[in-house]
Amino acid sequence: MTAADDAHLAFDGVRMAFGDRRVFDRLSFSFPAARISVILGGSGSGKSTALRLIGGLIQPSAGRIVVDGEDITRLSERQMYRVRAKLGMLFQGGALLDSMTVFENLAFPLRERTTLRRAEIADRVHETLTAVGLRDADALLPSQLSGGMIKRAALARAIVTRPLILLCDEPFSGLDPISARRIEALLVEINRRFHITVVVVSHDISSTMRMASKVLVLLPDGAVEGTPAELQASTDPRVASFLNPDLDAAALREVGHVEVQPGPAQGASAW
């Protein structure tokens, strides 16, 4: 038995590759229950892959993934449905069923997974829509919603079944700063009100530092975990450069940017 066996949510030596491309090699971490944890990392670092592994949507090449004290890597797809009943997932693009209205999208998992009666389902859906500020959007189709509204509707669908763990894939991407802050406040509110474990995949450092109890930083040559305070105090240069990116001229030159030299104005006269 290892520490991961008792964990609420943990990776233990997980290895993941898509064909020849290695994403993780022996990745281990654990997230606490009823807290907000954030997975940070650059593009292509495997943040969304980690989330999909927790949801059992893909299988690791090696290692163990523990969800609510159960190793899910040995479960069949049919057995995973029992585990997924404890999970809610906010997909990056929302993944709302586009043939259904917002109301039907929220009612769908309740009809499929619970024995609630029609009136109870309607009450639960309206209560959840009110919580995310979409009370008047219940009759709209996903195609009629803005980007921020889609995220909120998808978040509402993810929490309408009152999951134990909420997985959020890039909840702030593609949103204006106000909408992003609104989603952030909603996640904090959901965590406090329903005591749901929230795992957020993000590359937004400032929101991470505000809301996270635990942070996992995925780096090209490994991963570092800790509280926001521990990471900010870290002397590890990889963590420091990720949390405080200093894109000075030297750094830009290093990644291939061409520095523009001041010169004579090039206006219409040049033509």
Partner: protein, 258 residues
Amino acid sequence: MVTLVADLGWAGLRFVEELGRMARFTAGIGSATVRRPIRIGRFVDELFKLGVLSLIIICLCGTAVGAVLGLQGYNTLVRFGAADSLGAVVGLALIRELGPVLTALLVTGRAGSATTAEIGTMVVTEQLDGLRMMSVDPVHYVVTPKALAMIAVMPLLSALFILFGIFGGYLIGVRVMGLDPGIYLTSLQDAVDFPNDVAGSLLKAAVFGVLVGLIATYRGYTTAPTSAGVSAATTSTVVIASVSILLFDYVVTALWGV
């Protein structure tokens, strides 16, 4: 030379691997068909989308094909003094061959490609993963009603195509060429044998329904999650299903003499 043999070997392995995946997918549909909840509402929705929305194209094409058969058949038969057999020629050609095959090709182009595109788009927009995360099996909820509806509508549409084809042949043979309507219908009635011709025709159409249903849903379900992937999957559905229909047409005809 060695490279060529190696490439052929890999291609063969990939083909067998793909067949294995498709067999597992088919078994998944089979098990989902009898698993509760039975999704009658979804099945009826698909019947409407695949069947009712294909009615106009089937009726129109059936009439046109029957009219062409009537015209060509009359012009040929009249040379041998056998114009009275026009009903038999039109009827047998439509019932035994053209009805099921052309219906299957038309349904592939209209409904098969739409099925692949719809499921493929659900893959790209992560709707199928969304269903899995809600503990709902996408094969049970999305794929099975579509595949079963395709199997159910194909014989019905084929029968309708044949009916309108016979009507098209009647229009040309009787109304345009002046053949006696009684002779046209009697010749048709005498030539067509119900158990062999009509039941065989419906069986052939059902086989095509299974083919198109499986290919369209499988290509959609295994779409690469990009817009180009959806486009490629839709194209491959039309190509693979069309070729399979023509190949299986020969197989069914050779095996059962339909």
